[in-house]
Subunit: 429 residues, 2 copies
Amino acid sequence: MKAEIIAVGSELLTPDRLDTNSLFLTEELNGIGIEVVRKTVVGDDRDLLGEAFRDALNRVPLVIASGGLGPTEDDLTRETVADLLGRKLCRNDAILHYIEARFRSMGREMPAVNVRQAMVPEGGEILENPRGTAPGLWIEDSGHSIVLLPGPPRELKPLFREQVLPRLERRISGVRMHHREIRVTGLGESHVEQRILPIYSRYPEVHTTILAAPGETQIHLRLWTDDAQHAKETLDGIVRSFEIALTDRIFSEDGRSLEEVVAEELTLRNATISAAESCTGGLLAQRLTSIAGSSSYFLGGVVCYSNELKTTWADVPAEMILAKGAVSTEVAIALAEGIRRRVGSTLGVGITGIAGPGGGSEEKPVGTVHVAVSFAGGVKERGARFPGDRESIRWQASQMALDVVRVHFLYSGRNAGGQNAGKSSSKRA
Amino acid sequence: MKAEIIAVGSELLTPDRLDTNSLFLTEELNGIGIEVVRKTVVGDDRDLLGEAFRDALNRVPLVIASGGLGPTEDDLTRETVADLLGRKLCRNDAILHYIEARFRSMGREMPAVNVRQAMVPEGGEILENPRGTAPGLWIEDSGHSIVLLPGPPRELKPLFREQVLPRLERRISGVRMHHREIRVTGLGESHVEQRILPIYSRYPEVHTTILAAPGETQIHLRLWTDDAQHAKETLDGIVRSFEIALTDRIFSEDGRSLEEVVAEELTLRNATISAAESCTGGLLAQRLTSIAGSSSYFLGGVVCYSNELKTTWADVPAEMILAKGAVSTEVAIALAEGIRRRVGSTLGVGITGIAGPGGGSEEKPVGTVHVAVSFAGGVKERGARFPGDRESIRWQASQMALDVVRVHFLYSGRNAGGQNAGKSSSKRA
C-alpha cells in the first residue's frame, strides 16, 4: 500500500521551519508495510491546498495530512477537503460540547472562532484528540482514505498511534517492509557502487539505496513482502555477499555509528582509550564521549594545537617536529604513544593534519591527515588526503581514527584488547 | 515571482532523512523577493519524478531541484528532466575531464559510473561545482527555468550563491525581503517573547518569528518592501528596542554563532585561550577550533574525564575533589586556573557537570553544570541545571562557557583582554 503525506501551513514554507511530523508518520507507516511515495508542503491557500489533495488522491489510496485544523481563518484543511469531495460541513455538537468543556476547565469561555473546529465533512469519522481542541478526521471516498491530523507533534503523535494505526492495521494484511542498513567507511560512494552493483542488481525486488555522508557510505536495502521468512533469507543473502565484496570496510549492519561500534568493542574488552588531537581539535574526544557511560572507557584526551603542547602533553620530540613537520606519520605515532603512556590507557590515538582553509603547501596540501593508534604490542597508522572543507576534513579525520581502532580490534581477537585493561583501570581515580 | 522546490531522493522519504536544503534555498529566494509556494519530496523513481517536475512547471515559472545528480543508477534527475523536455543528453567532455582530474588529484582513478555526471541535456547551461563531481544545470524551457542542484549542502549552498543567485537577480526587480536575525543566549523562548512582545506588536508589517534552539533563542524579523530605506529604518528601530529589552543577552545581530563571536573577540584583542573540559568531552575545544585560523587564539585543551587527570593535567587538588565533588564551582574554577597556568594562555576555561543519563544524585541531578573562566585579574564562574538529554546538556554547557567568555570581554573594554597576550603568544612554538 502506498501513501502520501501533505503538511499544511505557510510557516512550513519559510526558512525557519521544517515539517518534522512526516518523519514520525513515515516510520509508523513503514512499520506496517505502507510506503510513503511523496511528501508535499503547501501553504494556507485554498486553491493550492485543494490541488495538492486532488493530485495525491489521483496517485495513491491513502493521504495523510497534518495541520490546518486550527480555529483561525487561515486554517483551511477541513473546508478544502469537504469542497473537493463535494460534501457538506456539518456542526458536530458532541465535539462542540467537548471544546466548550475544555475551555471551561481552563477557566475561560470558548472564543466564537473555535466553533469551526466542530465542523465535520458529511460521513467523516471523528478521531478524538484529548490533548488539543481540534479532533482529527478520517474520511473515506471512492476507495480512498483521507486522514486529517492536527499539526502540533504532541497532539499528532499519540492521536496517530491510538486511533489511526489500529484502523490502518485492520485494512492491510500481510505486506511489511523489511529493512537493512549497512554502513561502510574508507570507500567512496562510487567505489561501493562498483563493488556491489553486480550483487544487488540480481535482486530486482529489493530496493537498494546508496547514500554518501562525510567519511562514510550507507547502503539501505528495503524489501516489501508478506513473507517474512523469504525477506530474511533474501536480505541475509545479500548482506553476506556485500560482506565478501566490501570486506572489512563494513563497520555496522544495525544502524550503529562508528563511535558506538568502537565504544562497544572497548567495553566488551574492558579496554580504555585516550587521544592526542591536533587538527580535529577535540572532535574525536567529543564523539567518544557522546555516548552514555563513556567514562568507563574514555580516560582523557588533549588537544595540542601548538607544537610546544605536542611536546609538553604527549612527549613528541621537538626535533622530530622540526625534521618531519607537525603533520607527519612520525608525529601521529608519537602523539599516540605519548598520550597512551601518559594516561595509562589500553589504547592511545594520535591525529595530526591540515584542516584548512589555510596552512596547506604543495607537499602537504589542505586535507592531509595522519592518524595512529598505539597499543601494548605496537602501533598502527594510516594517512589520507581528504577532499572537502574544514568541517568535512575534520570529520573524516576523526572517522579514520575511529576506523583504525575498529580494525585493530577486528584483527586482534576478542581477548587481545584487554591485556593491560586491568592496569589502566586501576589507574583511574 | 513564485517558485517550487523539489527534493529528490528515496532516502528523503525514509524516517532517517529530512530535506534541509529547502530551508537555505527558501531563505535565499525570499531574499530576492521570490516566494516558495510548494515543496515536494519525491523518490528516485522515473515516473514519479517526471510527474513532480511536470506538475510544478504547470504551476510556477521557476523550479529548483536538489539531488539525484550522483553517479549511480538511482540518480535519475538529469535523465528524467531531459526526457520530460524532449531533449537529448549529450556527454560534455569539459566536465568529464574535470571529474577525471578531481579523482586523479586524490590519487584515484575515476570509476566508470561517474561518466553519467558529465551528461548534459541539450541546451542546458552548466553550473560549475568546484566542491564536488556533479555540476549543477540550468535549463530554460518555454518561459520556465529549471535549476538542478547537487544534493550535498556543502556543494549546493556555494553553488547556489555563486551561480544561481546572480542569474535570478538579473531577471527580477522590485520587492525584496529585508531580514534581521538576533541571537540570544541564557533566556528561554517564553521569556524572550514576554520582553519583546510589546515592541514587535507595534510593527504589524514586520513578520516576527521566535525560535528555540538548544542553548539559544533566535528572533527573525522579515519585512517585504521595495523601499530599502524604509526597511532599514524600521528594522534598525526594532533592533534598538530589542537591545534595551534584552540587554547583554543578545550575542549576535548578524547571524554569527557564539563561537564565532568569541573567536573574533579573541583575535581583536590578540588574546589566547585554553580549556579543561570534563562533561563536554572536547565539545568546547571542537567548537573553538571549528573556525578557520583558530590556531592564532586556541593554544590547547585537555579533556580530563577521570578525577586523576583533573589533578595531573590541571592541578585540581585531589582533596578539593574529595571535599566538594568533581561537579562543583570550586573544581570548575580550579580547572580554569590550572589549564591557564599550564598553557600560558590569556584565558582558561573550566567545565564540569553531569551530562547523564546516569551519574545524577538528589543534590546534583543530571544537567548540573559549572563553568569558570580564569584571566589575569581573577575568575568568573556560572552554574546551571539544564534540561534535556545528554547531547543537549553538553551543548548548553559549552554554550554557557562561551557566553561567560563573551560577557567577560563585554565588560572589560577592548584593551583589557590582551594584557598578557604578548607573554602567552611568545610561549607558542
